[in-house]
Amino acid sequence: MNIRLHHIAIGIGMISLMTFLFFKTNVIDSEAHNRFSSDLRYLKELDATIDKNLLESRYGLLNSYDKLNNEIEQVKLLSERLKSIPAFMDQNEKEQLKILLSKYKGLEEQKELLVERFKSRNAIINNSLRYFPVITSNLIKNISQESSKINVKEDINYLLRDTLIFYLLKDGRAENEIKKDIEKLKNSKEIQLSEENKTDLEICIAHAETILKLKPEVDGLIREAVALPTDIQIEEMIKFYDSSYNQSLKLTNYYRLFLYIFSIFLLAYIAYIIIRLNRATKELNTLNESLEQRVQKRTEELLWSNAELQRSEANNSALLHAIPDSMWRTNINGIFLDLIPSKDEQEIMLKDNWVGKTIFEVLPETVANQTLELAQKSLSSGEPQVFEYQLERNEQVYHYESRIAVCGESEILTIVRDITEGKKVAEALRENEAKYRDLFDNAPVAYHELDTEGRFVRINRTEELLLGYTSDELKGRHPWEIVVEKVSRDATKAKLTGKQQLQAVERTFIRKDGKLISVLNEDRMIYDKDGKVAGIRSTLQDITHRKRVEAEALVISEIIQGVSMTSNLKELLKHIHQSISKLLYAENCFVALYNPAHDILDLPLFVDKYDDVTPNYKLGKGMTSYVFRNERPMLLTQEKIRQLIEDAEIEMVGTPPAIWLGVPLRTPKGIIGVLVVQHYEDVNAYNLRDLELLTSVGDQIALAIERKRAEEALKASEERFQSAFDYAPIGICLTSPTGDFQQVNHSLCEIVGYSKEELLTKSFRDITHPDDLAVSNATFNRLVSGELKTSRLEKRYIHKLGHQILALTSLSLVCNSQNDPLYIIAQTQDITEQKFLAEQLQRGQKLESIGQLAAGIAHEINTPTQYVGDNTRFLRDSFNDLAKVLKKTDELLEDCRQNGVQSEFLTELEEIVKFTDTGYLIDEIPVAIEEALSGVDRIGKIVQSMKDFAHPGVEDKQAADLNRAIESTITVASNEWKYVAEMVTNFDPTLPPVPCFIGEFNQVVLNMIVNAAHAIADVVGATGQGKGIIKISTKLEGDWAEIRISDTGAGIPEEIRNKIFDPFFTTKEVGKGTGQGLAISHAAIVEKHKGTIALESKVGDGTTFIINLPIKEELS
C-alpha cells in the first residue's frame, strides 16, 4: 500500500514537473513577438521617413503635408499599439519597456510640435523666397525709370544679393548686411519715390525681413526635429526588447534542455526499474527451480511408493495445485498418464479429457515433436531439458516454458509454466530501447556524443541531416575537422580536462557539401558511474536562420547608415552591394534605376564576372524590364527563363545565368528600379527565402536611393549656385583678412589674366598697381578693422601680361557671429574701356561747346567792334570837319596878326563853324571816344573771358576764384542767354578760393547756363512773353561752396528727373544737344571734385541746379 502511494506521488511529481517544464518552454508567443518586434522596426522606419519628408518639404520636394500628417498619425497609432507588451517579458522588463516607451512618446510629442511649427514657417518662407526676387527686380526696373536715386537702386540690389547669400549660407553670415541694407532703404524711402514704388519697397523689405527672420527659425526647427533622439530611443527599445527576448529565448532553451535531460533521466530510471524487475524474475526462477526439484523428488517418491502416494494424495494434490505451473506425466510415446494443471489453466487442461490422449492431440505438432525430442535427449543424458513455446488462445499469445525431465525409466515429467507476463516485460523493454533510440535519432535538436579524446562517438539523425554526414562517417573524427573556428581543438581538450567552463558557443560547421552553417553549440559532460568524465554530449541548434535574420537587420541598418555615410548615389550603391554580399552571393549584381525622361534603365551599379559594364539600356524585354513592369520579385532558374522566352515574355540579354534573382525597388511613390543578383554556375545559389529577404531589403534600398537622390538634387542646386558664382559676368573673389585669395571666379581670372590656381596662391596686393597699393591697403585695412563694412574704389591692377587695368572694385566684409572678420567679398569690374570712352566723350564735349560758342563769341565781339568802328569813322569825319575849322582859324589868326581883324575872315570862319556844327562835335566827340574805348574794353573782356574759360589744360586742382570763373562763363555764354533771359547774379564775396579743375568747372557752369537758357527759350518761345530770368548765386556753406543756378523754365517733369544725368539722355530736338552735358557735369562734380549735384524743380516754375564743392581738398 505504502509503496503504491509512494509511486503515485513520484508519478504526480514527475507529471507536474513535466507540465511545468512544458509550459516554461512555451511562454514565448511567437505571434505576439513578431508583431511587437515588427511594430518597433516599422516605427523606426516611420521615424526616418518623417525626417526624410521634413527635409523634402524644406527643399520643396514634397507636394503637400498630408503625407507628413499621415505618418505622424501612424506613429501615434503604433506607439499606442506598442503599449501591449508580449506576455513573456517579466514585470520588471515590462516596466522598463514602458518607461522607454513613455520617454519615446514624450520625444514624439515634442517632434510633432516642432513639425507643426515647421509646417507654418516653411510655407511662409517658401512664398517669400519665391516672391522676393520677383518684386525686387520689378522694383528695380520701376525705379530705373524714376529720378536719380541710383543709390536706392544699388541698395535694393545689395539687399537682393545679401538676402540670397544669407539664404544660401548655412551660418547666417550676411545677417548684419541685410539689416544694414534694410535700415538704409528705410531711410532712403522718404526721398523721391513714387507712392507705388514706396509700397513695393515696403513689401520688398517685409519679404526680406521675413526671410531673415524665418530662415534661421525654419532651419532651427528642422535641426531640432531631426536631432530629437527619437531614433535612438526606438533603437534603445529595440535593443532592450531584443535582448530580453533573447534572454527569454535562452531561458526557454534551458528549460527545453532540462526537459530533454529530465526525459533522458526518466528513461534511465525506467531502465533501472526494468533491470531490477529482471533480477526479481531471476530470483523467482531460482526459487521455482528449487521448488521443482523438490516437486520432482516428491513425485518420484509418489511414483515409487504408491501407498505412500495414495495416503498423502490429498496433501500432494493440494500442494501441486498450489504451484503456479502445470505438470503432466506422459510415457515415452507421449500418452498422458497424469495431469496437474496450474490454477490458471484448470479450465483448459481438463484432466479427464487429456489422460489417455497423446500430446499430439492436445498440443501443436511442433511443440509435441519438440517435447518428444527433448524427452529422448533427457533420457539419454539424464539432464532435464527446457524449451519455450507459444500458444495462441482467444486471440492472445501465451508463452510457456516447458521443462522436461525423465521420470523413472519410461516416463516423462513435463512442467509447463506460463511466462507470458515475463515475455511482455522483456518485449516492453525492447520497445523502450527502440523508442529511446528513436528519441535520440529523431529529437529535433541535433545531438552528438564525443569520447574522452574528443572524437565523435555518434550523432543523431537530426545532426546527420544538419551536417550532411552520417553517424558512421563521423565516427572517430574530431569535431574541429569540420568546424571553421580554430579554437575548437584546444577548447575541446580544455573542456574534457575540466579546465574550461561549458558555455553555449556559436560555431560555424562545414557541411559535407561544403556549405557553412551557424549553430549554437551547448556541451554537457558525460560521466560514467564512477563519476569520471566519459565524454561530452553536445546539442547543436541551427541558428543559420537566426543569424540571417540578424544579418538582414544589420544590412537594413547599414543601408540606412549608408545614406548618411556616403557622398553620392554611386558610393551608396557600392556600400549597399557590400552589405548585400554579407547576406548572399552577390558577385554578379546590378541595380537598374528607371529614368522616365529617356524611358531607359540606368545601371549605376554593375558588378559581373562575365558581362562588361553596360551604362544603360532601353526598357525592353529583358528580365530586369520584366520585373520592373510586373512590379513583382522573381526568382528565375534556367528552366523558367527558357519558358518565359518561349512565351515571348522576355528576351535574353548578356550571359544566361544559372539562377537569376531580381526584386523591384519599391518606394511609396512607386517602383524606381530593380535590384538583380545572379549566379552563373550554382543553380541552388538562391532560394525563395533569399527572394523574400532581398525583397524586404529592396524596399529599404529603394528608400535609401530616393533619399540619396534628394540629397544629390540638393547638391546639384548648390553646384548651380557655385556655377553662378563662377560664371558671373563680373569678377568675384573671397579673400582672407590677410588679403590672400581664397576663392576666385572665372570672370576675375579673365580680367587679370591669371589662372584660378595662380590667383589662389596670391594676395590682392600682388596684382595691384604699385601706385594704388597704398590706397588699396588703407581701404582694405579699414574694412578688416571693421571701420568700414563696404567700400568701393577705382583702382588699377596689373594684368599678367603687364598692362594695367582700371577696375571698379566693391568690397564688403563678412564676419562670423562673434563679429570676427571671416573674409572679404570683392566684386571687380573692368572699366578701362569705359573710362577711356568717358574721357573721349568729355574731351569731345569740350571741343563741341567751344565750337558752338565760337559763333556766339564772334557775334559778341562783332558788336563792340562795329561801334568802335562807327565811332572811329565818326571821329574821322568829325576830324575832317574840325580840320577845316582849325585851318580857317589858323588863317584868321595869321591874318589878324598881320592885318588886324578882317571881318570877311570872321564871316568865313563863322560860316565854316556853322557848317561844321562845331558845338555838336565838341559835345559828341568825347562821347564817341568813350564809346569806342568801351567797345575796345568789351572786346578785351570777352577775349579775357575766352582765355579764362578755355583755360589751357590744367592737369591739377588749383585754388580758383569761383565768382570770377562764373562771371567769365556768363560772359562767354552771353550770346546764348541774352536774347531770352535776364541774368541776375548774387556772388558771395567771402567765398574763398576753391580747389578745382577750373576748366571742367567752367564747362559745368556753361552747361547749366546753356540748359537754363534753352529751358527759358522753350517757355518764352511758346508764350512769346518777354524774357525769363537766370539767377546764379554762390554761397559759403560751412566747408562747402554752394552754387545755385536757377531758371524760370518749364521745370523737369517728375518721371524723367532720375534720367537726366544719364548719358545720351536729352529732351532737346535733334542737333541741339548730344545728351552728354549733364552726364559729364555729374561725372565732373561727383567723381572728380567729390562734390554733389542736385536739382529742385517744379513743373511750370523752373529748375534750380545746386552744386556743392568741398572747400578743403581731401586726399584720400
Binding site: N69, S120, I274
Partner: protein
C-alpha cells in the same frame, strides 16, 4: 508483482506523455521570421504630381451608426433648452455652415467665432479653428458644453436620449453598452465621416478629365499655385493640414482692431507666444457656399477674402483680374454631398 506491472504501465504512459510534449515544444520552437509588414503598399496613392488630391467617392462606414448619427445630428435634445441641434449651425444645405459671421446658440446668444463647415471635416488633421481637438469625437464635447452654444452636459444629454425608447433600442442594437456619451459621440462622428463632397469639377479635372475646367479656371488654378496660396491650402482637403499665423506679412488684427480672445487662436490652447494669432488653415472645398469668411466672419465676398489673404498672408498685391481668376478656380471646388444612407 502486479503492482510493479502497474507501475511499469504508469511509467510508459508518462514516457509517452513526455514524448508528445517534447515534440510539441520543438515544433513550436522553430524561429519565425520577422514579418516584414508592407504597410507602405496599403498607402499606395494616386500617382499625381499635383499638390491637391481628389476626395474618394466611396466610403466604408457602418450604416447603422451613420443613420443614428444623422438623427442625433439633427436632434435639438443635445442642447439645454431643446432649441439647437448640430445642424442649426452646420446646415448641410448651406455648405455645412450657417452663413453667419457668428452663430447663434441657446437663448439667442451670439458666439465668438465663425462656424466652420462640417463637410469633409474628417480630412482636417485637427478640429476647431485652434486645433484643440484631435478627433471628430473629441470635437463634439466643445459645442455641446459651451454655454453660448448648446449649454448642456453629457449627463443631461444621456438622460434625455435614454428617455426615448426609439433611441434606446437603436443604441442597444448597435452598441453593447447602450446609450452613453462615448457611443453618442461615436455615432455622430460616424455620420460626420460620411459628410464628404466628392466629384467637384476640380476633382474630376485632377482625375484627368481636363476639359471640364474652362481656360479661365485653369488660369485661376495656375495662379493659385504660383502666387503661393498652395503653400497652405493643399492636400486632399485644400487646407486643414497645418497651422498658420493670420497676418504673417501684415498686422491683420491691428488693422482690423478690437481684438477678442478668439483672435488669439492656438495661443488659447498652448499659451505659447509663437502660437499667438495662429489658426488651423481652413479647407477651401465648397468655399463659395460658406461665406462669410475667416474665423471672424469679417468678409462677405470671396474676392475680398482672396484680397485679404494676398495682403496679409502672401505680402503681395494681386490685380483685380488675377483675383477674379483665382475666385473662378475656387468655385470649381464645390462638390456633391450624397447621403450615405440611400
Amino acid at each position: 508483482m502486479s503492482s510493479k506491472k502497474n507501475f511499469l504501465k504508469l511509467i510508459i504512459t508518462c514516457l509517452l506523455l513526455i514524448f508528445v510534449a517534447v515534440i510539441t515544444v520543438c515544433k513550436r520552437s522553430t524561429l519565425q521570421t520577422i514579418a516584414t509588414e508592407k504597410e507602405f503598399n496599403k498607402q499606395s496613392q494616386i500617382l499625381t504630381e499635383e499638390p491637391i488630391l481628389p476626395l474618394p467617392t466611396e466610403l466604408e462606414l457602418d450604416t447603422g451608426k451613420v443613420a443614428l448619427g444623422e438623427k442625433l445630428f439633427n436632434d435639438v435634445k443635445l442642447s439645454e433648452d431643446n432649441t439647437i441641434s448640430c445642424a442649426s449651425c452646420h446646415n448641410l444645405k448651406l455648405g455645412g455652415t450657417d452663413n453667419l459671421a457668428f452663430s447663434v446658440g441657446i437663448k439667442g446668444q451670439v458666439g465668438e467665432i465663425n462656424a466652420p463647415t462640417v463637410f469633409n471635416s474628417t480630412y482636417n488633421f485637427k478640429q476647431f479653428w485652434d486645433g484643440r481637438a484631435e478627433t471628430l469625437e473629441d470635437q463634439i464635447d466643445g459645442p455641446t458644453h459651451s454655454s453660448k452654444e448648446m449649454g448642456s452636459n453629457w449627463e443631461v444629454i444621456v438622460d434625455k436620449i435614454k428617455a426615448s425608447t426609439e433611441y434606446s433600442t437603436e443604441f442597444a442594437s448597435l452598441y453593447q453598452d447602450g446609450v452613453n456619451a462615448r457611443n453618442i459621440k461615436d455615432a455622430i462622428a460616424a455620420f460626420e465621416r460620411s459628410l464628404i463632397t466628392p466629384n467637384s469639377r476640380f476633382d474630376q479635372y485632377l482625375k484627368g478629365y481636363e476639359e471640364i475646367l474652362t481656360s479661365d479656371e485653369k488660369e485661376g488654378y495656375r495662379l493659385f499655385k504660383s502666387v503661393g496660396c498652395i503653400s497652405c491650402h493643399q492636400g486632399i482637403n485644400v487646407g486643414g493640414n497645418l497651422f498658420e499665423e493670420f497676418g504673417v506679412m501684415g498686422k491683420y488684427f491691428k488693422d482690423r482692431g478690437n481684438i477678442t480672445e478668439a483672435d488669439l487662436g492656438r495661443y488659447n490652447v498652448t499659451k505659447q507666444e509663437y502660437d499667438r494669432y495662429v489658426f488651423k488653415v481652413p479647407t477651401l472645398r465648397n468655399i463659395e457656399q460658406t461665406s462669410p469668411y475667416f474665423h471672424d466672419g469679417s468678409v462677405e465676398k470671396l474676392e475680398n477674402a482672396v484680397e485679404v489673404m494676398s495682403k496679409y498672408q502672401l505680402g503681395r498685391k494681386l490685380s483685380q483680374s488675377e483675383i477674379s481668376y483665382i475666385v473662378k478656380f475656387l468655385k470649381t471646388l464645390n462638390g456633391d454631398y450624397v447621403r450615405y444612407i440611400k
